[in-house]
Amino acid sequence: MDWLNALVALTNFVFVPALSYGAQLALGALGVTLIYSILRFSNFAHGDTMAFGTMCVVLITWLFQGWGISLGPLPTALLALPFGIVLCMGLVLATDRVVYRFYREQRVKPVVLVIVSMGVMFVTNGIVRLIIGPDDQRFADGERFLISARDFKEMTGLEEGLAIKTGQALTVVIAVIAVIWLFWFLNRTRTGKSMRAYSDNEDLALLSGINPERVVMVTWLIVAGLATLAGTLYGLDKSFKPFTYFQLLLPFFAAAIVGGLGSPIGAIVGGFVIAFSEVLVTYAWKKVLVYTLPDSWAPDGLVQLLSTDYKLAVSFVILIAVLLFRPTGLFKGKSV
């Protein structure tokens, strides 16, 4: 039974959290990578776009909760999600119209757009804090656990429990649906194909009559949707705090670059690579080793490679290693 206990402990503390965190990172990294391949710059405002979308979802969720609307065991936030996405789409279209379009017409160097996105980052960050404040907000309701640790122990009779939060399960399900839809859209629809054509070769795409403004608009709409989705799922799993969302920018970029900037599959794989390495390196292996090794070998310490405070450092060591040894990422992204 010992190895079974070890397996359950590993699933509970490593596999389940890393899987849902990886799915959240993948959704965020997809947004970064889409902006990079169509608009050709690294969007520093992405974390704050996500915070804005999630803020809208949180506010509408509270409104619904006030009205007494709920989804039973599922969080009410799911009902608020479409409204949040629409509001976030409004925000990104407005910033594109007011800010980015001017520079696109000037055909400025990508680095200028990055600096411009820093300005947008400040403004969005300010708006979010003006409206909802800088504090932690919880908005998850409904059933908290799909399986709680106690139920699992009673069901199986094992010493170790396995807990799966509703937020975690929802994250994986929704992320899979969103990704399948995105790939269907990019590969099968006319608009999706024109987006990929524009990303591969702008001049050829323009020659064949693709309307660049339309491509850009659709990209922003998809990015707003993905960002709100990623932010809401992250918030349901953990909690919503504007500063945390700003910090998520770093793992997003790490995921997108590890996979290869501009490559959607790369962004997804990158998200999971980053999430799993963060969790594996900072996990205290003592429990698992105690179950699997003979008693005399049992370790004294926690057997933790790095303390959890260095989570961010892990993703960046991977990022630097990939940039040095394989600058185009695992899936041959582009380097404009």
Partner: protein, 425 residues
Amino acid sequence: MTLRDASLFLLVAFLIVLTGVMQSWNLALQVLNMGLISAIMALGVNLQWGFAGLFNVGVLGFVALGGLAVALTSMPPVAEAWAVGGGRILLALAVGAGTIALAVTLWARRVAKRGWVVAAVVLIGLVIFRTLFDPARDAIEAVNPALQGNLGGLGLPVLIAWPIGGLLAAGAAWAIGKTALGLRSDYLAIATLGIAEIILAVMKNEDWMARGVKNVIGIPSPLPTAYELQQSADFVSRFADPVTASTITVKLGYAILFAIVLVIILVLMQLALHSPWGRMMRAIRDNETAAAAMGKNITKRHLQIFILGSAICGIAGAMMTTLDGQLVPGTYQPLRFTFLIWVMVIVGGSGNNYGAVLGGFLIWFLWVQVEPVGQFLIGLLTAGLPDGAFKSHLLDSAAYMRLFTMGVLMLVVLRFSPRGLIPER
């Protein structure tokens, strides 16, 4: 400097004087002191971005390293901690550095199956490092944890910490530049952003070094403190209000010290800008291929300017920690220490040293003053509203007006005057 530039500087001076008249001279001098430090940071970023086109968003990391240097230089050493674990921790760090050096050398030598060899070296090195390091760290952190729990510093005069802060930042910049400078502009940006976070994570968690989030307080001051002045009978007898007079005197003293540093750096940078070296840098920035064809070593020059710019940020960081008298790693926020410095450089005018200095003063002034002004405006707007949750929420949120204002200001300048208030000439 043209008449227009001079009048812009006069405007900023007027704003600071106005703060003194309208609010308090203490506040005005605070704005001036942080403005001086911000101007130096902006000069550092301007050296990298304005002269050479290097996109560094890791300013925060270098500023924090400067602050760390102050704690490590000027605090008295903790003899007991050195006795229980000082030697072991130094040995462990030497093992760690040796492992990395060996791994890098092996990789560069292209030995057979180098991937596996290097991985094995790193793994063995890590195990030795942790077995040496962990007990030593625990022993040090157990020494009087409420007040110390770290190795302390060297007990040197605090002014020496400023150049040391620069050197520490320069050393980090050398390591970063060696690995990351070959990357394209936005990859470099993301790499520096991440490295700054790592530097900060190390400072927050390695308690044996500078107490981590427990903060180092009571850093010795290079000038007599306000309290010491108030104790001196001679000083008290000269002023009607000795408390205010003492705080103002101390701040004036810092202002003079900082102004000396700013002037030295500004003069050096002006000389550099107009020297053949400065022309070469701008040539590299404007067209790398052409400059390389003329025989310039792009990688070396980039590394050089990256180190110099980071060192300036490190000096500014050390000055700031000296002014605060404490090292609080939790206060290092990327928006405040990286992106705000970028706003200063962009608004002031990248590529122009006077522009960067002006941006430093102006943006810092706005950063401080937007909050009370926002509070005042929202107070006026909500005066007619009934008291309640909504009104108090609006009043509370006025503090975040400054982020919004900075972003709008930056976007407006980028759109209508992309070369900044004092453009490059």
